[in-house]
């Protein structure tokens, strides 16, 4: 079996917009191993969402090759959980029914997943809102509902586009810890870790969660750095105070902004 789950080789993406072509990604080569937690950080508009869509098979890359599970991606790939940047809840369905949607769309009996859905809803702090319509929830709550939906079928690969972007700092930390648990941080040999490709604007979040942080440059997005995060697991909130945590964060910050701290431009 192929060790890499995701294998991007010199992937480029140019959108044909009405106003002319927009080069969103250029020369992206990236491998993500099974069970790895990889975060993508980069300036707004650098093509992070585009990259996730390409991996999911929702949109074809305009050059390069994309392989998932050893197979070339030609169409939407099966067995993934995807959190889009916007919650995209169906406004006519209750939160519970929204969370159950993947089961229905995949032709599974939604009744078999009710218990799981309820657990996820409780876990994300939405207990008591299961029967509400999306418009009755705040943006951050809708985002958590979308997270539950992505997790319902327990997919081995998660593609997440700023899933905690609309949350307050404290809820954000809670959700990060829950995500690590679901990913399988303390998991056993029988339950292999999931593979996660995670987009975020928070450097601290990326360092806290990931095995590797991939830093992208502004448009067209290229890979500026690929940094292993060798902090011990399981990670705790306290671990953020560690010296290594700060050092890694700073390094990512520098790569991202091209600045040395203190505002002096690096040459």
């Amino acid at each position: 079996m192929n060790k890499e789950l995701i294998d991007l080789d010199r992937v480029g993406m140019t959108y044909e917009a009405a106003s002319g072509p927009v080069e969103a990604l250029a020369d992206i080569s990236l491998k993500v191993g099974r069970g790895e937690f990889v975060s993508l950080v980069g300036p707004s508009g650098c093509g992070k969402s585009t990259l996730l869509r390409i991996v999911a098979g929702l949109r074809p890359a305009t050059c390069g090759t994309v392989q998932v599970n050893g197979r070339k991606v030609m169409r939407p790939i099966p067995d993934i959980g995807m959190v889009f940047q916007a919650p995209i809840l169906l406004k006519w369905r209750s939160i519970l029914d929204n969370v159950l949607l993947p089961a229905e769309l995949a032709g599974k009996d939604p009744r078999a997943f009710r218990k799981r859905a309820q657990e996820l809803i409780e876990m994300t702090g939405l207990g008591g809102f299961a029967e509400k319509l999306p418009r009755e929830l705040s943006g951050g709550m809708q985002q958590r509902a979308a997270l539950c939906r992505a997790l319902l079928l327990d997919p081995p690969l998660l593609l997440m586009d700023e899933p905690f972007g609309a949350l307050d700092a404290m809820t954000r930390d809670d959700m990060a810890l829950e995500l690590l648990r679901i990913w399988g941080e303390t998991g056993s040999a029988q339950v292999p870790r999931k593979t996660v490709l995670f987009v975020t604007h928070s450097i601290a979040e990326a360092v806290f969660l990931s095995d590797r942080v991939v830093v992208m440059t502004a448009r067209p997005g290229r890979i500026a750095a690929d940094m292993p995060i060798d902090l011990p697991r399981p990670r705790t909130v306290e671990a953020r105070a560690a010296e290594a945590f700060g050092r890694l964060s700073l390094e990512i910050f520098r790569t991202l902004t091209g600045r040395t701290v203190g505002g002096v431009t690096s040459s």
Binding site: A56, L58, I80, M82, I88, L90, W92, R93, L105, A106
Partner: protein, 263 residues
């Protein structure tokens, strides 16, 4: 007192405040009308007084029940036919580009025809009866349903469709779970137009040729000069029309509560 109870009372009071001018105007007009006719000496066959219209509503000589039933039957039939055919055509158009290319120009052409002018033809082809009038009503009313259904089915956020693709849902399932619920508010708002159109169509049909129905009653009063009966028939027609319209509004309330206040 709880806040929500107080809010409800405030809501009732504001309804009252909002609608009392309507009610007052209506009452004043009725009063003026009555006064003008009885004091001003306007002849009854030109303009009957409200009270004579009220009496005519329950007039023994006219078998109101029978006419009311015939017209209601036509209107409801026309409405249901327009709704079913309209939704079916809309779904077909949204489902297949081939069907859309074939059908849309043809439907636009049919829609530009003055349907009222077809009424005599329907008489030649189908003779007297309730069905041709029903057909007239649905002919006038089906087009907005087709258009709104097709539009509602296609105007789905691209992200929502991607959501369906992520879970490898087949096309029919995306229709059933995403496109059709998305189109529901559009369809319901078209059905409000159809409810009115069905009334017009049924009455036009009865004008052209019929032996029963409220439209027929109005035509007969032309020769008998029994104007108050014509007015009474009008009142009955609008009662049926309003009821049907109210039913659609209620349906929208029940089936698409998330779209409240959209139209």
């Amino acid at each position: 007192m709880c806040l929500n109870v107080r809010l409800r009372m405030i809501k009732f009071q504001s309804l009252l405040r909002q609608y009392w001018p309507t009610v007052a105007l209506f009452a004043a007009l009725l009063g003026l009308w009555q006064l003008a006719v009885s004091a001003g000496g306007i002849r009854e066959y030109l303009l009957p007084a409200p009270l004579s219209v009220w009496n005519a509503l329950w007039y023994g000589d006219i078998a109101w029940g029978q006419h009311l039933w015939a017209t209601t039957f036509e209107i409801v039939g026309a409405f249901v036919m327009a709704a079913v055919v309209g939704v079916a055509l809309g779904v077909a158009i949204a489902w297949s580009p081939l069907v859309a290319n074939a059908l849309v120009p043809f439907l636009v052409f049919v829609n530009t025809l003055p349907k009222v002018a077809i009424a005599p033809l329907l008489l030649i082809w189908m003779g007297y009866g309730l069905f041709p009038n029903m057909l007239m009503g649905s002919l006038i009313g089906f087009f907005p349903v087709v258009i709104n259904t097709a539009v509602g089915l296609s105007q789905v956020e691209a992200d929502m469709l991607d959501l369906g693709r992520v879970f490898s849902a087949p096309k029919w399932k995306i229709f059933l779970k995403i496109r059709i619920p998305n189109a529901l508010p559009y369809i319901l708002s078209a059905l409000k137009i159809t409810a009115t159109a069905a009334v017009v169509g049924a009455i036009v049909g009865e004008f052209a040729a019929s032996q029963r129905g409220l439209g027929y009653v109005i035509v007969t009063t032309q020769s008998s000069m029994n104007t108050s009966v014509a007015f009474a028939a009008l009142v009955w027609i609008s009662a049926v029309g309003l009821l049907l319209y109210g039913a659609v509004v209620l349906l929208a309330h029940l089936w698409a509560p998330w779209a409240e206040g959209i139209d």
